[in-house]
Structures are given as structure tokens and as C-alpha cells.
């Protein structure tokens, strides 16, 4: 009976149609009862994000931020630091929010106490982790504010922007650093800080010890003498707890000569590489 081709074809079609109908019904009912429609915007936003999963936005990962920024009207669209302005703009556009400006940042290690400059108080043998070493009398360096050099920050960076130099201090690769701040959180001394990439000068020290003590502990220390502050025509430098702080905003806005740099007796304040070459030299010429 089934050898009749036409008949056979009809059987096939009928069987499949029946099956399709039955399953279609089940599925349709299920669909009504089960599905949670998700907002397709979320995926689109996620596509935009750089997928660094660094957590700079304060969320568990890029996907979490995408979700939050779409669903929650209070979440700002410019939280993704690695994404810079472009991403912020794109996200604002998609979500219909207005983006504040994103100031690009870069990590700055506020310590120049390399092996040859900083005094060592004791020999440390133990777990090679800054946090753990910090618990034993704040680590082997005489300066208790200085970098311990075990590189906890290096392992915290998701972008491979940090490396431990031969001098025992971490070096930031400006090309790779996104300013996400993960290293800042990892450092037990809190001596890494995020700085606007446009900043001109930086203080390479975190010591709050009094001048004499600081100098005894490390020849590269900021001794809080205030020469830089006195010599800054724009009042951008301020001394607090025996340590110089530079207000990057004032510098960026006003300064083109960085007089402070030359005045520091210990060299604790220095110009950023780019600045030195382009601006100072331009001025000199």
C-alpha cells in the first residue's frame, strides 16, 4: 500500500504536520507560561563594552554592567573606564542617557624607592605577596610607606600593563594601562593612584615620615620641604603630612613649564615622559 509514491508522500506530510501541530501547541503554551523576555538592548550594550572584565565599573563584569546600565535608570553610562569616551558615548546613545565626560586615567606608582635607594631594615623570608609581607612590621623596607616589590599589583592587572622592573618597582606600560584601578585596590600600601593621563608632573613618593626620618630611610623620598610648592606659580602643589601632592587639574589647565620638577632636592617630583619632551622642550626653544 505504501509503495504508492503519492500516497506515501501524503502520509509523510500528514504525520509531520500532526507532529508539528501537537508539538507546536505544547511549545506555544509553554512559551506563554515560561518565557521571560529579556531586553535585547542588554546584549547590544554588552557588545560595545571592551570585555576586559576588570570591574572598574564597579560591577562583576562587563555583562553585569551592561545589564545594570540598561535596566537601572540611575546607573551612569560612563562607568567603563577602559572603554574611554567612545564607549561612554555609544552606551549613552543606546540607553538614552547623557554621558558625563570620562577623564582618561593611568596608574601611577608613587614610590621610587628602588633596591639601591631605599634602606632595608630586615631580611624578609616568607610568602612572596605584598599583603602578607606588609603584616610583618610593614615589610622589610625601612620606609613603611614604600613599595614592597612582590608585585601583587602586577597580578591584579587584567590588561598586562604592569611589570616588575629589575629595580624592584612595578612599571606601568602607558600603552596598555586603561586606568581601571584594579592595581590600586590590590596594593596594601595604597601607593598606586589613578592619575589623569594629561597630568604633567607626579610625586614618586608616599612617605609621610618627617623629612629627616624619610631621608634616612630612602634617598628618593619626598621630605616635605615644600620647595616645589613655593616654586609653583599656580599653587598646584600642596604639602600635607610631609608629603607633596599635585593638583593635576590645575597643572593641566595652566602649567606649561613644570618649574617644581627642577626644584626638588631629592628628585621625588618628576615630569611625565611625554610632557618633558614635547612641552618643556618646546618652551625652551
Amino acid at each position: 500500500m505504501l509503495s504508492n509514491p503519492i500516497f506515501f508522500a501524503i502520509v509523510i506530510v500528514i504525520v509531520l504536520a500532526a507532529i508539528g501541530l501537537v508539538f507546536g501547541l505544547v511549545l506555544a503554551v509553554a512559551n506563554k507560561k515560561l518565557k521571560v523576555e529579556t531586553n535585547p538592548l542588554i546584549e547590544e550594550v554588552e557588545e560595545l563594552l571592551p570585555k576586559g572584565q576588570c570591574g572598574a565599573c564597579g560591577y562583576a563584569g562587563c555583562a553585569a554592567y551592561a545589564e545594570a546600565v540598561v535596566l537601572n535608570p540611575d546607573v551612569a553610562p560612563n562607568l567603563c573606564v577602559p572603554g574611554k569616551q567612545e564607549v561612554a558615548d555609544a552606551v549613552s546613545q543606546l540607553t538614552g542617557k547623557t554621558a558625563e565626560k570620562v577623564e582618561p586615567h593611568i596608574a601611577h606608582v608613587r614610590c621610587a624607592g628602588s633596591c639601591d635607594k631605599a634602606k632595608i631594615d630586615y631580611t624578609y623570608t616568607g610568602v612572596k605577596d605584598c599583603g602578607a609581607a606588609n603584616m610583618l612590621h610593614y615589610g622589610p623596607k625601612a620606609c613603611k610607606y614604600g613599595c614592597l616589590g612582590f608585585g601583587s599589583c602586577v597580578s591584579a592587572c587584567n590588561f598586562g600593563a604592569l611589570s616588575l622592573g629589575d629595580n624592584g618597582l612595578p612599571a606601568v606600560d602607558a600603552k596598555k594601562c586603561t586606568g581601571c584601578g584594579a592595581c590600586e585596590k590590590a596594593c596594601p600600601k595604597k601607593l598606586i593612584k589613578m592619575q589623569p593621563t594629561a597630568a604633567h608632573v607626579k610625586v614618586d613618593c608616599s612617605s609621610r615620615d618627617k623629612g629627616a626620618a624619610a631621608k634616612k630611610n630612602c634617598v628618593a623620598a619626598c621630605i616635605g620641604c615644600g620647595l616645589c610648592a613655593k616654586n609653583c606659580p599656580y599653587q598646584a602643589v600642596r604639602i600635607q603630612d610631609n608629603l607633596a601632592f599635585v593638583d593635576a587639574a590645575i597643572c593641566i589647565e595652566k602649567c606649561a613649564e613644570a618649574t617644581c620638577v627642577g626644584k626638588c632636592p631629592t628628585g621625588a617630583i618628576s615630569a611625565l615622559a611625554g610632557f618633558e619632551t614635547e612641552k618643556v622642550l618646546a618652551k625652551a626653544n
Binding site: 508539528g20 508539538f23 507546536g24 511549545l27 506555544a28 512559551n31 518565557k35 600603552k175
Partner: protein, 207 residues
Amino acid sequence: MKNLWRIFSKGIISENPILVLALSLCPALAVTSSVITSLTMGLTVTFVISLNNIVVSLTRTFVNPKVRVPVYITSIATIVTLAILVLQAYAPQLYKALGNYLSLVVVFAIILARAESFASKNRVFPSFLDGFGMGCGFTLAMVTIGAIREFFGSGSLLGIRILGSWYNAPLLFVMAPGAFIVIGYLVAATKSLNKKREERQKEREAA
């Protein structure tokens, strides 16, 4: 143009379905003990995924989103059955070697995933390219695995003895454990390859 190339090429290395996404692994292990079966399976999948992407892309405006998935499954299953019928008729030996694993093509996550995430949102030609690229990546991975396993495990390629009779082949490679281990190292190799590529690309962008 560049865009189209990107759509096609991502499936080959950077999003290789087997070695990177780790999807549709079963055939990657089960039928790769020789190059010829790997190739057949690879081509079948390429055929199915390309055709299905076309079908999905063509029908994307008619299909109710609520039955999207079942309809795609129906489409895939139809194409697979077609492929099976053809193989059965014209290459019964190969069909026998691939066995039920051919039927499993229906549930390969990669096919459904491409339909869902690409073809259902894009025009026909890009969809075809996407599917074709993924298929090529799949085939490439399959053939690589098959070649390694066949070469070391039997001393031959495509059934042709390459290594002389002095080669006392370790069966490990053609057996299940060897398959897993070979793929494990291939996955690692692809990963470091991809990483190097990415880094190079980043450097180029930075420069």
C-alpha cells in the same frame, strides 16, 4: 568587503566552534580517528550550517519569535535528514562509519547558536558567509584532529600509509583517551595562537 571577510573568517580561528567555543564536541572526538571521516563530517556540518543560515535568514520575517527555536530545529533536522539520505544513497561506506553521529548534527549547539545569534538578524549573504565560515572552522578543526590521530595512531593519512612498517603505531591516539588528550593540547595551542594574534593586532592598533 572587509566586514564580510571578518564575518567569514572569525569562525576559522578566533571563534573556532570546536577549539575555542568548545561546542559540538561529540563528533570532534567520536569520528576523528581518521581524516576521511573527519572530513565527511566536517563537510556535512558546513553544508547544514550554511544552508540553515540561509533558510533562517530568508524566513526571519515570517517566523514568529516565540517558536523560533523549534522552527529552526525543524529546519536543521530536515537538512540533516537530507544529508543523511544522500550519503546513505551515494556513500554507504562513509555513512556506516559515521553512524548515528550524523543524526546528532541536528542538536549541534553551534548550528542553533548561529541561527539564533546571526542568521535571524542578518541578510542572506552575510548569514551564509557566517555559517560557511563556522563550518569551515569546524571542518578545519575536525581534519586537524583527524590528521593527528590518524598519522600518529595508524601512521597513515587519508588511509595512505605514510610511515613505513617500522612505525609501530601507538593505538592510544585512535582510542578514546588519546582523542581527549589530543584535543586538549590543540585547544591550548589555539588559545596561545589566538592570544599572540590579538596581541599583535593590539600592537598594530597602538602603533
